[in-house]
Symmetry: none
DNA sequence: CCGTAACCGAGACGGTACGTCACGTCTTGAG
DNA sequence: CTCAAGACGTGACGTACCGTCTCGGTTACGG
C-alpha cells in the first residue's frame, strides 16, 4: 500500500542525484560568474544535466538560486559562550563568514532585488531563508532568559514582534556592513556592534558615542 | 577661456535635456517593469532618445540605475524633534517611505547585488549613495551631543568608526525589514526599533525583551 | 511449425489493435496538423498508446506516414467505361479525389521529399505505393488491347518501360496540377488531359493547341 | 528628392551582400544535409551572418528555401532545335539536370509539401517558381505555331488553360519520374516521353504501346 | 498453473533546434 | 561631433520534440 501523498507515481522517477548536482553547480557558477552572468544553460552543463531537467524542477534562475543559497545558512549554530553578548558575537561572526563567500554575496541580494516584484519569490525567500534562521533569535533569547540576562516575555505576540525586530537589526546590520558599505564585518566591528545592540547608543562605554 | 577638460569640443554639443529625460525615464521604467525587465532600449524609447545617445553617457544599466536611484535619497532631512530618539524616528520614517517606492526597492538591491562583482560600481554606490547620506548620522550625533544626550567623541578615528556602525545599523535594519522580511517599517515598528537602538536589548522597557 | 523468422517468440504478443489505432491516429493528425506539425508524441496520445509502443513498430515519422498514406491509394479501381480514354478519365478522377484529401496532400509530398536522402525510405515508398498502383496501368493497357484500341506489345522489356512512362505521366500530371499548381483536377481538366495524353499535342481537336 | 516607395529610410541600410550569402549557404546546406536536417542556425553560421539577420529577411525555413531553389530554375532556356519535339526534348533535359542536383531534389518537394497547409507559401511558390517557368511553354508553342506544327489559338482563355495543362504534364512527368519513381530522366526516357506527349498513346510508333 | 519473457502505460532523461529578446556596436543621413 | 534610426553579430532565453531509458505492472505462451 502506498501513501496517499505519493501513490507511486507512474513513469520513471526523478533522479535524486540530479537535484544535488544542480544546486552544487549553481553555487560553483555563482562563485565564478556572479548572478548576472550565471546562465541556466551553463549550470545544466556543469551539473551534467539537460536544461530541460533543470526547468522541470525550478521555474527559473530566481527560484534555483534561492534554494542554492538557502542551504548555506543552514550551517549557522548558536554557540554557548556564557553570556548574551558573547553568544550573539559568535553567531554574527559565523553569519559574516558566510556573507564573505562569493556565492552568498552574489546570490542573496539579487534574489531579494527580484523579490520586490514577485510575491511568490518573496514567500520562497521567507520560507527557505528568513523564517528558518529566526530560530537563532528564539534560542538566544531563551538562553539569556534562563541566565537571567533578559526578563521573561510579557505576552506571546509581543514576543514575536520583538524577535522579528532583533532579527532584522542583526541580519540587517551585518548585510549592510558587508554588501552595501562593502567593509569586512571583522571581530572588532562585531564587538562594537554587539555592545551597541545590547547596551544601547546612549550608554557610555569604552568606545561609546 | 575654457576649462581644459572641456575645451569647447568641436561639433554639435550634447543635449542637456537628454540627461534629465533619461534619468526620469529610467525611474518610470523601474516602477513599471522592475530591474530585471528594464531594458536600455526601452528607456531610450521612453526618453525619446536614441540608444547611442544613452550609451555615450552611461556604461550600462548598472551605472544608469545608480544615478537614477541616488537622487531619491537626497531628499532625506534630519528633523529637530527635541530628542535623539525622536530625531532618529523622524529620519527613519522618511527612509522607510523612500524604500516603499517601487523604483527604489527594485533598483537599490539590484545594483548592490551587481556591485559584489564590480569594484567600480561599488565605488560609485559608495560615492553617490552611502557616503552622501552619512551626513545624517553626523548631524544627529552633533545635535545630541549639544543637548547633552551623548558624550563628546573620545578620538576622531573612533568617531568615524562609530558613525559608520550606526549608519549600518540604522540603514541595515530598515532595509532588511522592508525588503528581506518584506514587512512595512511603520510607526510602531520604528518606535520599537529606536528604543532598542538607543537603550539596548538588556534595558527593560514597556515592551522590552 | 513456425516460420524461422518468427518462431512464436516468448512473452506477451504485440497488441494488434495498437497498430490500427496508431495508423488511424496518424491520418487524423495529418488532417489537423499537417506533416511538419505532426509529432509522434501527439500520435501516441491520440492512439491511447505509449511512445515506446510506437517506436517498437516504426523507426520514425517517415516510415509511419508512408504506411498511413499507402492505405489511401489501395481503394483505386479501374472502371470499365468502354474506351481507353474513358477508363483513364475514371481512374484519374479517383486519384484526384484522394489527392484532395488533406492527409494525402500533406503526407505524400513530405515523404517523397525525405526520400531524396534516404534510400530505405525510397524503397519503402516504391514498394508500398508506387509499384502497387502500377497494376492500374497494366490492367488498362490489357483492356485497351483486347478492345483493339492499342496494338499488342512488341517486347516484354519495352512493355515495362512504357508502362512506367505512362504511370509517371498520369500520376505526375495529376500530382503537379493538384499540389504544385494548386488547382483542382476537376472533370474539365481531366477530360482535356486525357485527350492530350491519348491523341497527342499535335493532333487538332476541339481545344487543341 | 526621394522615390515615394523607398524614401531613403532612416538608419543603417540592410546589407545586400548578406542576402546573397544566405541564399548560397542555404543551397550548400541543402546539398550536405537535406531539407529536414537543415537548420536556420546552421545556414546563418555558414553565411557568416547572425540568426537574427536571417529572420529579419525571411519568415522561416520554407520561405528561405523557396527563394533559394527558385533561382535554380531561372537558368532554363528553350533551345531552337528545329522542331517542336526536339525543342521540348531540349528543355526537358535541362529540367531533368536541375532535378538531379541534390539541392533541388531536397528542397522542392519539401516546400510543396509544406505549401499544402500554407496559402501564403503556396502563393510564393506559384509566383517565384511555377508562373516564372510557364514562359517556356508559351515560347515553345509560339515557335511551333510559326513553324506550322501547331494551329493558332482558338481563344485566349482556352490558350491559357492549355498552356497550364502542358506545363503540368511536362513538369509533372519529369518530377514524378525523378523523385517518386526515383529513376533517371535520361535521354532515352525523354525521347519516349516527348513522343507520347506529341503524338499520343494511341498513335503507333517504333515503341508505341 | 506457474514462471518468465516480452509487452504495456507513464514519464523523466540528455539532446538539438527553435524563434525571440536584449545587448552593445556600427552605419547611415541630417543638423 | 552629435543626433535619431535601425541593421548588425552575439549569446541566452524558455519551449517543443526527439528518441532512449527506467519504472511498476500486465499478459499469454510453454514447461
Amino acid at each position: 500500500m502506498q501513501s496517499r501523498t505519493r501513490p507511486t507515481r507512474a513513469g520513471r522517477p526523478r533522479s535524486a542525484a540530479a537535484d544535488a548536482a544542480i544546486l552544487a553547480a549553481t553555487r560553483t557558477a555563482l562563485v565564478e560568474l556572479g548572478w548576472s552572468r550565471l546562465t541556466l544553460g551553463d549550470v545544466a552543463a556543469r551539473a551534467g544535466v539537460a536544461k530541460t531537467t533543470l526547468y522541470r524542477r525550478w521555474a527559473g534562475k530566481n527560484e534555483l538560486v534561492v534554494d542554492a543559497v538557502a542551504e548555506l545558512f543552514d550551517e549557522l549554530r548558536l554557540p554557548d559562550r556564557g553570556s548574551l553578548a558573547a553568544d550573539i558575537e559568535g553567531v554574527v561572526l559565523q553569519f559574516a563568514a558566510i556573507l564573505a563567500r562569493p556565492e552568498a554575496r552574489s546570490g542573496l541580494m539579487a534574489v531579494v532585488a527580484e523579490s520586490t516584484r514577485d510575491e511568490a519569490l518573496r514567500e520562497r525567500i521567507r520560507t527557505s531563508i528568513v523564517d528558518r534562521q529566526k530560530r537563532l533569535v528564539l534560542e538566544g533569547r531563551a538562553r539569556a532568559q534562563s541566565r537571567g540576562e533578559l526578563p521573561p516575555e510579557p505576552a506571546p505576540e509581543e514576543a514575536d514582534r520583538t524577535a522579528d525586530l532583533i532579527f532584522d537589526m542583526v541580519a540587517g546590520a551585518v548585510v549592510h556592513r558587508t554588501l552595501v558599505s562593502a567593509e569586512p564585518a571583522d571581530e572588532e566591528w562585531v564587538r562594537s556592534f554587539v555592545r551597541v545592540l545590547v547596551t544601547g547608543l546612549a550608554t557610555p562605554g569604552p568606545s561609546g558615542m
